[in-house]
Amino acid sequence: MTRVTLQYYAQLREQAGASSEQVSTTASTLRDLYAELQARHGFSLPVEALKVAVNKQFSDWNRLLAEGDTVVFIPPVAGG
């Protein structure tokens, strides 16, 4: 199990009901992690519509999770 901190923006924050949370996960990559969260929170956005950042740097979805990572999921937003 890997323990990570998650931050959500926009629709993801709304659908998760929180702007951040700490989770322990068996997912190995960011892509797997998002799939797991999508099932748990019912996220409507597909992974292709999102950017992901780890420890304040944008990242590849195939990156492996490390203990203590802070992961941020960011959709583009439209409001003005």
């Binding site: 629709q11 409507s44 944008f58 439209a78 409001g79 003005g80």
Partner: protein, 519 residues
């Protein structure tokens, strides 16, 4: 001869009218303002006018002289009551005589508008419930600011006549060592295009006009709605229903007459956007529309025009500066394609608190001024995320090598995207409800797969032809225009293109089912 009077006594109308008679007069026009029994929903029992007499008379005389000069009238007078007035009493009287009726009408309108706008006269309303309130009289629309009449297309708004008298004072910003007189000259020479005069656009337009940016282009196809006012704070309740570009142009004229405004009352499209961008030094994208933001990104990259992007969602926002210089990242480096409109969220669907676009729009104005003045900016390009609920802000550096660079570079990606948008634009029709399309004579063809149709059926009569099989159907015999419908507008655009080649009058529903109004 012109005369302006303030009086506490009732006005002798016959004498006023007689005094304006002139052998050369072919037209006389009078206006009377009366005390009515209600204001803004409250019942009024009477009111009281109070004036700063010396200034009001001097300014009133000046207004009459301006009207005489502007419209060539022979004589004009105005009387404004002060003191206590009852319902139905005459509060103000204007009379104008001129050679022809047109000058008389216009001068009369000019005088009353300017009196309401400029005279130091205050009105205290007495309400039926017994309380009272002072009401500003200086809030009014001035018809003459909209002269000459608008034609279609985009408009130059000439400086109003009082611009000559008003000298902008930029001393507070010129004092900054990094700005100085040289910086102020750069601003005066700058041409900035603001796309969208809404929640983000309002602070951008206000600050750039205040800063003395020489030319502001403003694009907006909407009229003001009452639901805009909580966040679009340069408009007010009386503006509802008017075109935002006109309201914004008027506001800029009032804020800083030295700024020239060019308005575009239709959204830019793939066919004209690069030509428009080529006329500006900088673009600030302030719409609530992802497609517009991507279109602006592509045009900025192709014309090497710096672009300041921002968008908001409920309590948070995103900010990105696209410098449009070779090797520096663009919007598509982050998100190559926009998600379907239904997934992205808008202020209408998701809600937004007024100060959120206020903050992000203000940040856009700041970034625009930094670019125009060449002020210090962080070297690394970043997406800035601002969350106003928890007060956090973070900058995530964008690695250009991980973006469009992997697909031929920003310029190649932008060119392909713009070409596609152009082709799709020529195939698209926009409807909020499919009933409207049927009413307009279109046959609806649903090109989705059977399982998608089962999940989200259309509630109108439609043919069902999966997009992959569209060419096999002889739709050419329909003898009606065909509107193709899919989930996002992509497959239907592709199918429409194929059908056009067969001679079918085929169109694609813009944005697909996701863009229809929720029923």
């Amino acid at each position: 001869m012109n005369r302006f009077e303030l009086t506490a006594a009732p006005v002798d109308l016959a004498a006023q009218r007689e005094a304006l008679k002139h052998p050369g007069s072919g037209g006389f026009c009078a206006f009377e303002g009366w005390v009515r029994n209600n204001n803004e929903g409250r019942e009024v029992s009477g009111l009281e006018y109070e004036a700063y007499t010396e200034l009001a008379i001097a300014e009133g005389e000046r207004i009459l002289a301006e009207a005489a000069e502007r419209y060539g009238v022979l004589a004009a007078s105005a009387v404004h009551r002060v003191g206590n007035l009852a319902i139905g009493d005459l509060a103000v009287w204007i009379g104008v005589s001129a050679p022809h009726r047109d000058e008389a009408f216009r001068a009369c309108r000019y005088i009353i508008d300017e009196i309401k706008h400029r005279l130091p006269i205050w009105k205290k309303e007495h309400y039926l419930e017994g309380d009272t309130a002072w009401v500003a009289c200086s809030h009014t629309e001035r018809a003459h600011e909209l002269e000459p009449p608008h034609a279609h297309g985009h408009h130059h708004h000439p400086h109003p006549s009082r611009a000559d008298k008003f000298a902008p004072d930029y001393s507070r910003q010129v004092r900054l060592r990094e700005v100085g007189e040289a910086g102020q000259r750069r601003l005066a020479e700058a041409r900035v295009l603001v796309i969208g005069a809404g929640g983000l656009g309002v602070p951008v337009i206000s600050y750039l006009a205040g800063a003395g940016v020489g030319t502001l282009g403003i694009v907006d196809g909407d009229v003001l709605d009452a639901s805009n006012l909580h966040r679009q704070v340069m408009y007010d309740a009386r503006d509802v229903g008017q075109r935002k570009v006109d309201l914004a142009a008027r506001r800029v004229a009032q804020l800083n007459p030295a700024v020239e405004v060019i308005t575009y009352e239709q959204p830019l499209h793939a066919g004209d956007i690069t030509d428009v961008f080529a006329g500006y030094d900088l673009v600030v994208e302030c719409t609530d529309d992802l497609a517009s933001r991507y279109l602006a990104n592509d045009a900025a990259v192709l014309t090497s025009t710096p672009l300041v992007l921002a968008s908001v969602y409920q309590y948070e926002g995103q900010l990105q500066v696209v410098t449009a210089e070779p090797g520096e990242p663009c919007l598509r480096c982050l998100w190559p394609e926009p998600p379907a409109p239904a997934l992205a969220g808008s202020c209408v669907e998701s809600g937004v608190l007024g100060p959120v676009p206020g903050v992000l729009g203000t940040m856009q104005a700041m970034e625009a001024l930094k670019l125009l003045l060449d002020l210090p900016r962080p070297a690394e390009h970043a997406l800035q995320l601002v969350n106003l609920l928890d007060g956090t802000s973070q900058r995530l550096p964008i690695d250009a090598s991980q973006g469009c660079a992997q697909h031929g570079g920003c310029v190649a990606v932008a060119r392909r995207s713009l070409e596609r948008a152009h082709a799709e634009g020529e195939l698209e029709r926009r409807f909020e409800r499919l009933e409207e399309a049927i009413h307009a004579g279109y046959a609806i063809v649903d090109v989705r797969e059977p399982d998608e149709i089962d999940a989200t059926p259309l509630h109108v009569t439609s043919l069902r032809v999966p997009s992959g099989e569209i060419s096999a159907y002889a739709l050419v015999h329909l003898e009606r225009p065909v509107l193709l419908v899919c989930a996002s507008g992509r497959r239907s655009a592709h199918a429409a293109r194929l059908l056009r080649e067969q001679g079918v009058d085929a169109w694609s529903l813009a944005g697909g089912i996701a863009a229809l109004m929720a029923s």
